[in-house]
């Protein structure tokens, strides 16, 4: 019977499918995408023009990334996420392979000190860590939701298996090294284990291990010097005034100078003078801060807030444990990444190179974000 119902749902028309989405979630993401596009344009047009380059170079590619991402998202919602379980080993395996590949000289390319990208001909690059995030979330959700009653907690064995699934890609990401992505995955791991109903000593234990690992990593020099510098310059921005300290200071000034109503789109002198490096990617929020002011940046925060409220609603409503854990993983990922990114631009968090979901320029991240959206909508569609 249930199988038949499932078949019936899968046979829904495209129109029905679209109308079944959580509209507020789509509105939030749509608005973030639109504002993000304008901000990427604002961040790059004048500087590129002054260098004699095409001022629309970035915005064109950004729009293309969004289109590809939306197609991926749509594709994700078409697939019954429950069937994904079957493919989980492949998704996870592909992610791990990609992470191994970037470490091989000749394939991986280094940007900003991290060997995190695979370059393709034509200037396209792929960041396997973004794919790995999804692989870890689905993999863990599958292991922790499998073969148990609705009310029973996962066994210690399940938790340990799921941790292995998470730790392999995380270790590879730490080798790149990409501290930011590793932290995001940790957040997702802890959230999934927590919501899975596993004994709380797992959650507490993992939090302690995370803190200890970070401490040991800094002390033992596993973390690269540039990362230590970034951390130092967070605590004391004048410690490294030329590099990351400069970036953090400029970032804060740029946001602060926007005031309440902002300098107007395309009119930010800090943005147009390119005083914040990497502004179209990790520092895109500073463009909003300067040009759109407190009203515009606050609106962006509200959109993220709306996104999380709707995502939590989906997670609470579904009766399927696997679906809920996927949702929680995606939420933790986006929440931590958004907080880390915007917090960094405002001097609340140390500097790690993570993009702002749905807004920063960058293909891999955009694809992964929109697939994440697709997963949420997919759970939503099938929980009604």
């Amino acid at each position: 019977m249930s199988r038949l119902l499932g078949e019936g749902r899968r046979a829904r028309s495209f129109r029905n499918n679209i109308s079944g989405y959580d509209k507020q979630l789509n509105f939030a993401v749509g608005a973030l995408l639109l504002i993000g596009t304008l901000l990427v344009w604002a961040a790059t047009r004048q500087w590129f023009a002054s260098q004699g380059l095409d001022p629309q170079y970035y915005v064109k590619r950004h729009v293309l990334n969004i289109i590809i991402g939306l197609l991926l998202a749509y594709g994700t919602t078409l697939v019954d996420y429950r069937l994904l379980r079957a493919y989980t080993p492949f998704v996870w395996g592909a992610g791990v392979l990609g992470l191994v590949a970037v470490l091989i000289p000749g394939i991986g390319s280094t940007i900003n000190g991290a060997k995190a990208w695979i370059s393709f001909p034509g200037g396209f690059t792929l960041q396997p860590a973004e794919l790995a995030k999804i692989a870890v979330i689905i993999g863990m959700a599958m292991l922790l939701a499998e073969a148990r009653d609705k009310d029973s907690a996962p066994s210690h064995k399940d938790v340990m298996k799921s941790l292995v699934v998470a730790l392999v890609p995380m270790a590879l990401i730490m080798l790149e090294p990409d501290l930011g992505e590793a932290l995001i995955i940790s957040a997702a791991v802890i959230a999934i284990i927590g919501v899975s109903g596993a004994p709380s000593r797992w959650v507490i234990g993992l939090l302690l291990v995370g803190v200890l690992t970070g401490f040991v990593a800094v002390k033992a020099g596993v973390i690269h010097e540039y990362q230590v510098k970034r951390l130092q310059s967070f605590v004391n921005p004048s410690a490294d005034p030329q590099q990351s300290g400069y970036q953090l200071r400029q970032s804060r000034i740029t946001i602060g100078s926007g005031g309440i109503i902002g300098r107007g789109l395309f009119n930010g002198p800090q943005t147009n003078g390119r005083f914040v490096p990497e502004q179209q990617t990790d520092f895109i929020f500073t463009v909003a801060g300067e040009e759109l002011g407190f009203l515009g940046s606050g609106f962006i925060l509200l959109l993220f807030g709306l996104f999380f409220v709707r995502a939590f609603a989906i997670a609470s409503r579904t009766t399927d444990i696997f679906g809920r854990l996927v949702c929680i993983g995606v939420i933790a990922w986006f929440a931590f990444q958004a907080f880390e990114n915007m917090g960094m631009t405002m001097g609340l968090m140390p500097m790690t190179g993570v993009p702002l979901p749905f807004m920063s320029y960058g293909g891999s991240s955009m694809f992964a974000n929109l697939v994440g959206l697709g997963l949420l909508q997919s759970v939503h569609l099938r929980s009604r």
Binding site: A198, P269, A335
Partner: protein, 699 residues
């Protein structure tokens, strides 16, 4: 969903939403609470001001002769943006420039560095402007040097020569007036930090004297070109571009010729004093219009060349300005020198005696000395003058009369156990004439002198009691004489009490009383004009370069001296008698101008650095013409000796210039002012200067 997992979901939800709230709060703090701070920080990151200096207004004398003005100079500048692009970063250019301008290449290098580029401690001479602005190496280049730079752009890439205004004190009548005019200099970081002033970096501002006080009028508004730059310091746009507005001209009451004559008279008095064997370390002279408090001339000795600053002060010159070995030329003795007024103070003692109902026409005994308590107070020349009236007492400067009166009054006030209600005639008279209070002249740094009344005595005692009571332990070995130890012991016991000795010393302007030469001039001007104490003013008016009057400074009354008409009449007669048959009679014998005045020879405690005892302060305070006074003239020579032979002669020299006295006759054609006195009309500013002010700076 089991309980634990539901709880975890709620915890996660709360956590995520509080993260968002934290971001919102931080955003509010940055953009709303501290928005303005970050806006100005952003502006300083993006904008670079290029300041095009305004021509500074002239300071002229009352007839329009410029005492301070901008004159065309030739400036050699280095353009850092161009020089930095050179393969050797400009080191060859710096070597060439050093050779051309007589500096070392290292000096040129330092001068062209932004201060932030150099290590702390090596910043002397650095440029505190922006990189975009051409950085000046010198403003005093010769035409030949400028031509060499302009004609050889391949040897001097990025170097330019252009005319600029430079501050100059032309001394057209031979005047110096350094202490009155002050000087200008580049604005300091402290000035820039002062938000009440709107200075631009590298602007030239007044640092002292009139240049400082009237800086807002004189400075003008520099032209400012604000460039918006990007991260690579490339100029992206020009946000504002204003042309400079020249500053306004300040017309003073000074007269260049009178100033010059006053300075010469002071210098020759110092010289005369030295030839008589006195130290004569410094001096001051002031000429005031008694009808309105206008300062017509004000001199201080020693002085310095005010043009020194424009040439760039050497370390030695800077040291010399404040060195006691050179007499601290930076100090303006007229307003910053405090000395005991000595017998010139007796004019105020007359007022005190009159208010204590002494008959000024009665006869008083002037013995050679007077015993007050256990101490013997002597007449100045230790000579008895017999029975004399008060006019004679002033003329011959009898001290003992005043000892007696002051002692009697001190006793009447209760002596060492003062009555609750005190007459204090002497203190009240002095206070009424402004002793111990600044006159409020429009020059910076004026000192107030000292009125050593009962309150001062108590305050001084409170501050120094410990020293007096431990004198043998704390004093310098050279000060451990039995006499000084005895005094210290006395001071320790009841130093807060006004003793008879204090009272009698005060009556003859000695003891702890101090006045500045300007204060004494103001006092004598008030005696001359019937009791009006003016606020002395140097500035007369501010006029635009085109001649429109912006502001005139009307006379300001500080107060009315506590004198009656009969006191004034008596003083005019008595002070005139000083010059006809008294202590200054020898100086003014056969002099065609009727001068009324008082000599003063002030004893000074203490020793010079070489161990010699300090010589007396020589004073002459006066007004003229005695019948209808117009001018008050005071001269003081520190350690100058007798009042008559040094300062009175100097004052006579000033009157000679003022009234045009040649030999024993007055030549009205040579007088500085017409017989009606200084004109209230405003002059036309010299056309040569007007042309300069309009912006035609040409070589």
């Amino acid at each position: 969903m089991n309980q634990r997992s539901r709880l975890s979901l709620i915890v996660t939800q709360t956590l995520v939403l509080s993260l968002m709230l934290a971001l919102f709060g931080r955003l509010f703090f940055l953009q709303v609470a501290s928005g303005l701070k970050y806006q100005s920080a952003a502006l300083s990151i993006q904008s670079r001001d290029i300041v095009n200096p305004a021509i500074r207004g002239a300071i002229t004398d009352s007839s329009g002769i410029p005492l301070a003005m901008d004159r065309p100079g030739m400036q050699i500048t280095v353009n850092r943006s161009a020089v930095d692009e050179l393969p050797d970063k400009g080191s060859a250019v710096f070597a060439q420039l050093g050779k051309l301008l007589g500096m070392s290449a290292a000096q040129v290098f330092t001068k062209t560095r932004l201060c932030g580029e150099l290590a702390i401690g090596q910043r002397s001479g650095c440029w505190n402007g922006t990189r975009q602005q051409p950085i000046p190496l010198t403003k005093l280049a010769t035409e030949a040097q400028a031509l060499k730079v302009l004609e050889n752009p391949t040897i001097f890439p990025g170097v330019d020569a252009a005319p600029v205004p430079i501050r100059s004190y032309p001394a057209l009548a031979g005047e110096n007036a350094a202490h009155v005019l002050g000087y200008t200099g580049v604005v300091t970081d402290a000035d820039l930090a002062d938000t009440t002033k709107h200075f631009y970096r590298n602007e030239i501002v007044g640092k002292s004297g009139l240049e400082y006080v009237y800086d807002n009028y004189l400075r003008g508004t520099p032209g400012v070109k604000t460039l918006i730059v990007d991260r690579k310091e490339a100029i992206t746009s020009v946000s504002q571009n204003t042309s400079p507005t020249p500053g306004n001209n300040l017309v003073t009451h000074l007269d260049a010729r009178l100033q010059s004559a006053t300075e010469a008279a002071l210098a020759s008095s110092v010289k005369r004093s030295r030839s008589l064997g006195y130290h004569a370390d410094s001096g001051a002279a002031v000429v005031m219009d008694v009808k309105n408090g206008a300062i017509l001339a004000m001199a201080s000795y020693p002085t310095y060349d005010p043009n020194m600053w424009q040439k760039g002060l050497t370390t030695q010159q800077a040291k010399d300005l404040f060195s006691t070995a050179t007499g601290v030329p930076a100090l303006s003795r007229a307003i910053q020198g405090e000395y005991a007024p000595a017998s010139t103070f007796k004019a105020l003692s007359i007022v005190a005696a009159s208010s204590a109902k002494y008959n000024l026409n009665a006869l008083y005994d002037c013995p050679a000395s007077l015993k007050v308590g256990t101490q013997l107070f002597r007449n100045f020349e230790t000579k008895s003058q017999g029975h004399i009236n008060m006019t004679e007492a002033i003329a011959v400067s009898c001290d003992t009369i005043w000892y007696q009166i002051a002692f009697d009054q001190w006793l009447k006030d209760g002596g060492l156990s003062p009555h609750p209600s005190l007459n204090d005639y002497f203190f009240n008279a002095a206070r009424g004439f402004g002793v111990g209070k600044k006159t409020g002249i429009d020059l910076p740094g004026e000192l107030s002198g000292r009125l050593p009344d009962r309150q001062w005595k108590q305050a001084y005692y409170d501050a120094n009691k410990n020293f007096f009571c431990n004198y043998t332990k704390r004093a310098k070995p050279s000060d451990l004489t039995p006499y000084l130890i005895a005094i210290a012991h006395e001071n320790c016991l009841d130093g807060n009490k006004l003793r008879a000795g204090d009272a009698v010393n005060f009556a003859i302007g000695q003891g702890d009383t101090l006045v500045t030469p300007l204060q004494l001039t103001d006092i004598y001007a008030s005696i001359a004009n019937g009791g009006t104490l003016w606020k002395p003013q140097v500035a007369k008016a501010v006029i635009t370069p085109k001649g429109e009057v912006i502001k005139t400074f009307s006379p300001v009354i500080n107060g009315k001296a506590p004198v009656t008409k009969s006191d004034i009449a008596f003083l005019h007669t008595a002070l005139r008698a000083v010059a006809t048959r008294g202590t200054a009679a020898g100086v003014f014998a056969n002099y065609p101008i009727e001068v009324a005045g008082k000599t003063g020879t002030g004893q000074v405690l203490g020793r010079n650095p070489n161990g010699s005892a300090k010589d007396d302060t020589s004073w002459f305070a006066s007004f003229a013409p005695a019948a209808s006074p117009r001018y008050a003239v005071v001269m003081m020579v520190s350690q100058g000796g007798f009042g008559a032979s040094v300062s009175a002669v100097g004052v006579k020299d000033i009157y000679s210039a003022l009234f045009g006295v040649v030999g024993n006759k007055v030549d009205p054609a040579k007088a500085i002012f017409p017989s009606s006195g200084p004109s209230a009309a405003l002059p036309k500013v010299d056309p040569k200067y007007a042309k300069l002010a309009a912006g035609t700076v040409t070589k």
